[in-house]
Subunit: 237 residues, 2 copies
DNA sequence: GCGGGAATTTGATGCCGGACAAAGCGGGGT
DNA sequence: ACCCCGCTTTGTCCGGCATCAAATTCCCGC
C-alpha cells in the first residue's frame, strides 16, 4: 500500500497549472507515490506505457537506445517535472528508458486515469500541449546543435543547460546537483567519454571547471558561455 | 479577397479528425486560402506567430538557422499536413523558416481563431497533442541518429524517410516527388553537400539510385534499407 | 544560339575526434 | 580494512569527413 500523496506536491507542476483546488484533489486522488532507489529503471524502452510519471524528488535520466546498442541521453528530469507521459497519448509504448541517478520519489497515474483526468479537466490538455511544444523546440535546437557544431561547443552547451536546470551556487562556483559521469555527457553530446574527458581536462587546466568523479563544478560560467557562443572571448597564449 | 475554401480539403487532416460536420464547417469558416509560388517564405524564423497553417498542395521546407547562419532542415511538409501551428501555443514566435519548394496552396487560421477553435472543440486539442507527440518522437530519433550513426547511414535514412513521405512509383523505381538538392540532403543529415554528392555518386555507380539536378530516384530501395540498417547485405569487392 | 549562374562532381589536404590501450584512482561492499 | 570493479585519465594512432579549390554540366532567360 503506497503512502498517500500530499496535494501540495502538485504546486508548481506546469501540467496542472491553473486547476481549481478540487480538481487538484481529483488529480492527487488518482496518483500513487513510490520510492525508487538510485540506479533503478522506472520504465524501459519498448514497454507498454502503463502510467504517466511525475518526479517529486531526486533525478531521472531519460536514455534512448538504438538498434545497435548506441545510447543517447535525451534529458534529465528534476523535481516537479513529468516524464513518460506522452507515450500514453501517442502509440502507447515508452520510447526510452528512465533510470534514476539518485534516490527518487515519484508519483504515477495509470494510463486510464490519466486520459480520464484530461477528459474531465480540459486545462490539462492545454497545458500538456504547451509543455510538449516546448520540449519539441528544445530537441529541435539540440538537433541543430549536434548537426552543425563541433564537440567542444556542444559540451559547453550541454553543461550550461545542466547548470540552468540543476545548478547550485557553491563557494567555488556553480555545481551540477547530481552525479554526472563523462559517459553521460558524451551521450548527451553525441561524442565519446574519451573526448569529454580530454575537453574537461583542458578546461580544468584553464580554471574554467573543476571536475571529479561523477561531479562537475563550473568556476567560470561566462567562459563557458564564451566557448558555447564562439565569442573569441579570452584567448590566451 | 481570398478564394473560399472547400470543407472537403479538411478530410484526412489528423488535426481535425473525429469532428462533426458542423464543427468542420466552423473550422473552414475561419480559414483563409492562399497561393504561394515556389521559393517564397510562408513565414520566417523569429517572426511573431500570426497564424497556423495547413498545406493543401505543393511542398514546404522547414529550415532552422543557427546563430552563425548554419542551416538545418527540420522537415518537409506535404499536402494535408499542418505547420507553424505549435508556435501559437508555446511562445508565439516561429522557431524556423517555412519555404516553398514548389508552387503551393495553403490554408491559414489567425492565431486568435485557432485558440478559439480549440476552445470550442476539445477534440482538436487531443488531436494536436497526439500529433506533436509523434513529431517529438521523430525528432528524438533523428537526434539519436545524428549523434551515433555515420554519414552514409544517415543519408540512407533520410532518403528512406523522404520516400515514405513523398515517394512515387515510377518505372525505374521510386522517385522523390519534389525538387531536392544535395544541399538539402546535407542539411537534413548534418553533413555537407560535398559528402552527399560523393555518396550519391557511389550509390549511382552501384545502381542503387539515379540522381540528377534536384531530383532523386531510388532504384533499389532494399539496398538502401540494407545500408541504413547496417545489414552486411551485398558487399562487393 | 548564347551567355550567366547555380548545382554538381571530383580531387587534394588536413584535422577533429573516434578507436585502442593501459594505468591510476576511489568507492562501496563484504 | 581489504579487495575489486567501475570511473577517469592520458597517450598514440588513424580514418572518416569537413575544408579548400577548380572544373564541368545543365538549366533558363535573353
Amino acid at each position: 500500500m503506497p503512502p498517500p500523496p500530499d496535494p501540495a506536491v502538485l504546486h508548481g507542476m506546469p501540467l496542472f497549472a491553473g486547476l481549481e483546488a478540487d480538481a487538484l484533489g481529483d488529480v492527487v486522488g488518482q496518483a500513487r507515490s513510490r520510492l525508487v532507489p538510485r540506479g533503478t529503471a522506472v520504465f524501459s524502452q519498448g514497454e507498454p506505457a502503463a502510467a504517466g510519471h511525475a518526479l517529486i524528488d531526486g533525478r531521472v535520466k531519460i536514455v534512448q537506445t538504438g538498434p545497435d546498442g548506441q545510447q543517447v541521453v535525451l534529458r534529465f528530469i528534476g523535481p516537479g517535472e513529468m516524464f513518460g507521459t506522452l507515450a500514453i497519448f501517442t502509440d502507447g509504448v515508452y520510447p526510452a528508458d528512465a533510470v534514476t541517478v539518485a534516490d527518487c520519489v515519484e508519483l504515477s497515474w495509470p494510463a486510464a486515469a490519466m486520459t480520464a483526468l484530461m477528459e474531465r479537466h480540459p486545462a490539462i490538455a492545454r497545458n500538456a500541449l504547451a509543455i510538449v511544444g516546448g520540449r519539441l523546440r528544445e530537441v529541435q535546437n539540440r538537433l541543430r546543435e549536434v548537426s552543425t557544431e563541433r564537440v567542444e561547443r556542444r559540451i559547453a552547451h550541454a553543461l550550461l543547460r545542466l547548470v540552468r536546470q540543476a545548478g547550485r551556487r557553491v563557494d567555488a562556483g556553480v555545481e551540477i546537483n547530481f552525479p554526472l559521469s563523462r559517459q553521460d555527457v558524451a551521450e548527451m553530446t553525441g561524442s565519446t567519454l574519451h573526448t569529454v574527458s580530454r575537453t574537461l581536462s583542458a578546461w580544468e587546466a584553464q580554471g574554467i571547471v573543476e571536475s571529479g568523479r561523477q561531479q562537475v563544478v563550473i568556476r567560470k560560467p561566462h567562459a563557458l558561455v564564451a566557448i558555447a557562443e564562439d565569442l573569441p572571448a579570452a584567448d590566451r597564449p
